[in-house]
């Protein structure tokens, strides 16, 4: 019978020291979101061909970048977990997968609205759309596995391998337009991009900044939640060992 010990990587999430920083981050994210809404709807001009629908772009592209951030976080947490399993690394991988699913669905939803205006259909099997859908489905599989297949070491490692596999799809999504000549537009390129007005660039920049702050806040709160869940499960096991619980 051993006294409960905190495993390596499992920090106490109940610490109040980080609360002011988190509140400051959420306040910053809120301000940036309000500022981006103001610039997108009141300052950025309406686009000549697409009309008001073009403003979806300022939400769609930052959401796609947030999806990449979530997937990359899942990849980093998964690789780190496979190298040396800790609760923190597992929590980072899982939170990253959650964000990849949430922002992936936002990207697919806003993209479908755009496609309805631009192509006359909500969905087409364009290479970028298809690879993006595939990527979201991989992270959905990750979360389903974690939710229903138990929380043992084997399940965690299997999910971590899935997290690594999901990240392998990211460069395919990114370069699919160039390699397979899909319909998806490439507005932002290495040659400077196709945003003709300075306020359009400002709107996109603010959109990136706002979504970056939002994704960091979401990631932080979800990692903390996962750590609490892991800690609760460990304490439950300790109570069972002591005969305090059935």
């Amino acid at each position: 019978m051993n006294a409960p010990t905190r495993p390596p990587g499992a920090q106490s999430p109940s610490s109040d020291r980080t609360t002011p920083y988190f509140i400051a981050l959420v306040a910053l994210a809120t301000l940036l979101v309000f500022a981006s809404l103001d610039v997108i709807f009141f300052r950025a001009p309406v686009e000549k061909t697409m009309g008001i629908v073009q403003k979806i772009f300022y939400f769609h592209v930052p959401s796609a970048v947030c999806m990449y951030v979530g997937a990359t976080t899942c990849f980093v947490g998964s690789v780190a977990y496979l190298m040396e399993p800790t609760e923190l690394r597992d929590a980072i991988g899982r939170a990253g997968a959650e964000l990849a699913v949430v922002f992936g669905i936002i990207v697919l939803g806003t993209g479908s609205l755009w496609a309805s205006k631009a192509w006359g259909t909500y969905w087409t099997w364009d290479p970028r759309l298809t690879t993006m859908l595939l990527s979201v489905l991989i992270y959905v599989a990750y979360l389903v596995l974690r939710a229903f297949a138990g929380d043992g070491e084997g399940e965690r490692k299997f999910a971590a391998a899935l997290g690594v596999l999901g990240a392998a799809n990211l460069p395919i999504i990114h370069f699919s337009v160039q390699k397979w000549a899909g319909q998806h537009p490439t507005v932002i390129t290495s040659k400077g991009g196709g945003l003709g007005h300075p306020d359009m660039k400002l709107a996109l920049g603010l959109g990136f900044a706002a979504m970056a702050a939002v994704v960091v806040a979401f990631l932080w709160v979800r990692v903390r939640g996962q750590l609490l869940e892991s800690r609760f499960a460990r304490l439950e096991d300790d109570a069972l060992d002591l005969g305090l619980s059935e």
Binding site: A3, P4, L37, V221, L242
Partner: protein
């Protein structure tokens, strides 16, 4: 006295013309539907207060008036409200996690005490229990 009253009548006419310039529309005298307009006008004048004091304190409803609210502002307000609610929800999650963490701290302490007690009773000689 006569000149004063004629001056007042000219001034009232001038006011009426300047009002019609600010609010263009068919006047009862010039409109082709002067008959119906005048009858509607008489109906309105029957309900409208006739004294100066009455006119300044009574508000007459206008049917079919133009909408002055900007739809774009309402759209942005709706978006901002949704985002604000989402951020408040995230903060609520954080405070709930903090409270849960404190409860888990207590639980961890209790389990540690119970483990220590069980270990000390197991190590103690049989007569000392």
């Amino acid at each position: 006295m006569t000149s004063l009253s004629s001056f007042a009548s000219i001034a009232s006419l001038a006011n009426a013309s300047s009002l019609s310039a600010h609010f263009p529309g068919p006047s009862p005298a010039s409109s082709p539907e002067s008959g119906s307009a005048s009858s509607a006008g008489s109906a309105a004048s029957a309900s409208a207060p006739s004294t100066v004091d009455g006119r300044s304190t009574a508000f007459q409803p206008v049917e079919g008036g133009t909408e002055h609210r900007n739809g774009e502002t309402l759209l942005v307000a709706a978006y901002a409200g949704l985002w604000a609610l989402l951020m408040i929800w995230v903060l609520v999650q954080w405070t709930k996690q903090t409270a849960l963490g404190r409860r888990l701290d207590d639980l961890e302490r209790s389990i540690r005490d119970a483990t220590a007690k069980a270990e000390s009773s197991a190590k103690a000689p049989p007569g000392n229990s």
